[in-house]
């Protein structure tokens, strides 16, 4: 399904379905190594990181808690049975040995302004979490800032909704809402997945899975806007005049040697350039000896080497007894 979506092989209306998006991204957690899936959930839901097994259940359904009704009751205030209240189906329930996350995902559909749905799901999760310990109701939407359906914050809205819960423990449940409820967005989920898909420390097939999930989110425009792309491009421009070897070759100033420009960048930038002797760069000492390499040495315009922040320093290719320029002459 991931591939069909990425290659636009499914109808447009199907692509935009909330459940399809949930399946392609949240559902993916079932196929990831357990420790990684747990770390993704921990970061997304802002819970303490634990490397342990994780259970992922998509669209599980539960009996709606007393006090809520899935549909209008025909007998008014008559005593309700479980079947009268109907069933409630969160988008996902993610659980570890010591925590439980109930997830409500929204894409195009709005949050319920009466907070009935979130109230039901909060109550279900709160009761289920007695077996687990730590509990979180995570509301995942496409908003950039936390939404306020009907002008009420999510915490207040859910508190009002769970106040309908009948029986002992209702007060505990209301008090638990601020600590247990979190909102996040798809864009942040993208960032979490994308960072792991770029990490060479994970197996290739896992990174490919994560990468494909990110492509699906990109197709929906659920990508965080930030300036990383243009900053990287600017950095490439800025360093474009520096020969590739300069980044990895030993660098000598005064009597000290820095392993390379990239490794020693922080040290170089921290120097008082005006007090330095000529900074000497030795690109070929170990790597390119011999006559056959001389033409290559000449092709490097080291005298043209410019880096605005290092301009006070005169950069010269290192050569015992003279510079490259002198040798050319």
């Amino acid at each position: 399904m991931l591939q069909a979506q990425i290659h636009h092989k499914v109808p447009r209306e199907f692509e935009g379905m909330e459940d399809v998006l949930t399946s392609s991204t949240i559902g993916l957690l079932s196929y990831l190594p357990s420790a990684m899936a747990a770390s993704v959930v921990a970061e997304l839901a802002q819970i303490p990181l634990e490397t342990e097994t994780i259970e992922v259940a998509l669209w599980p359904n539960y009996t709606t808690p007393p006090g809520f009704r899935a549909s209008a009751h025909p007998d008014g205030d008559a005593e309700e049975s479980d079947s009268d209240r109907g069933r409630t189906e969160p988008d996902a329930v993610l659980s570890g040995a010591s925590w439980l996350v109930v997830l409500e995902a929204k894409y195009h559909s709005p949050l319920d302004e009466a907070y009935d749905q979130l109230g039901r799901e909060f109550a279900i999760g709160f009761n289920e979490a007695r077996k687990h310990g730590f509990y979180r109701l995570l509301v995942l939407t496409a908003h950039t800032l936390e939404p306020k359906p009907a002008g009420v914050s999510l915490v207040q809205g859910v508190q009002r909704a769970v106040a309908k819960v009948q029986g002992a423990g209702a007060a505990d449940m209301i008090a638990a809402v601020p600590e247990s409820l979190r909102w996040t967005n798809w864009q942040r989920f993208y960032r979490i997945l994308n960072r792991r898909s770029d990490d060479p420390g994970y197996p290739t097939h896992t990174r490919r899975l994560l990468g494909d999930a990110c492509r699906v989110l990109e197709l929906h425009g659920l990508v965080p806007y930030d300036s990383t792309g243009i900053e990287n491009a600017m950095l490439k421009w800025q360093s474009s005049a520096i020969p590739e070897e300069a980044w990895t070759s030993p660098l000598v100033y005064r009597s000290r040697t820095v392993v390379s420009l990239s490794a020693g960048w922080g040290e170089i930038m921290g120097l008082d350039a005006s007090g330095l002797d000529a900074l000497t760069w030795c690109p070929y000492l170990a790597t390119l000896p011999g006559k056959t390499r001389r033409s290559e040495r000449r092709s490097l315009q080291l005298e043209d080497f410019e880096l605005s922040s290092l301009q006070p320093i005169e950069w010269q290719p290192y050569q015992r007894g003279g510079t490259l320029h002198e040798r050319r002459c």
Binding site: A142, H143, T144, L145, P147, Q187, G221, V223, P224, Y225, D226, S227, G229, I230, N232, A233, M234, K236, W237, S240, S299
Partner: protein
């Protein structure tokens, strides 16, 4: 004087990579604004020039008689509230609804810093005696942007801009503001500096007589 082939290849790649990153940055920002204002209570949606879901950019010359670089100086998108699912065009007339716009200006004669301009166009009408063009607002984005939203002094740091525009085709009132692109590093900044202010302008314009969205 010869050109170093490797250096040329490297510089060409750098240049294309940079332009690609720059344009993606601009379009990413516009997509972000579109997502955010689509989720707001006003539910503003993109106008579709020529029926297509696309942005507008400056006119580019493809003439070999006067070869010019084909590169976008700006990207702009226009939005409005569509009360019904039917009728996705916006006739120009007495009841033209407020039109919101967002544009990323990358290059302009007097521009020191790339900036994002946003605002609301109200009271758009055709010039007296003209009944052929424009029939819909969707026909006008490039015209409006070229004539009224670019070519003057930068907007960023100058507060709210208010002006009336009139030419031989149409007239309208413009309210807008600008922010430097560099001051919008992420979605949260876009929400604070652009979307919230844009929605406030749109709300105010919609509450004026004849400004029903």
């Amino acid at each position: 004087m010869s050109v170093d082939a490797d250096r040329l290849a490297h510089q060409v790649k750098l240049a294309y990579d940079f332009i690609d990153a720059l344009h993606r940055q601009a379009l990413g920002l516009i997509k972000d604004v579109e997502t955010q204002i689509g989720e707001a209570a006003e539910a503003l949606e993109c106008l579709r020039p020529g029926g297509n879901y696309c942005y507008s950019a400056n006119r580019m010359s493809y003439s070999l008689a006067t070869p010019q670089p084909v590169i976008a100086n700006y990207f702009s998108v226009f939005f409005r509230h569509f009360p019904e699912r039917q009728g996705r065009t916006t006739p120009v007339g007495e009841h033209t609804p407020p039109i919101a716009f967002v544009m990323v200006v990358l290059h302009e004669r007097d521009l020191d810093h790339p900036e994002v301009r946003f605002g609301v166009i109200t009271s758009m009408t055709r010039a007296p005696g003209r009944d052929d063009w424009p029939r819909t607002v969707e026909q006008t984005p490039t015209h409006v942007t070229d004539k009224a939203l670019t070519g003057n002094v930068p907007w960023a740091g100058r507060g709210v801009q208010e002006r009336d525009y009139r030419d031989s085709y149409l007239s309208f009132h413009l309210t807008g503001a600008g922010v430097r692109l560099a001051d919008l590093p992420d979605s949260e900044a876009v929400a604070r500096e652009v979307v919230t202010r844009l929605l406030a302008m749109h709300r105010q314009a919609s509450s004026l007589p004849g400004g029903s969205a």
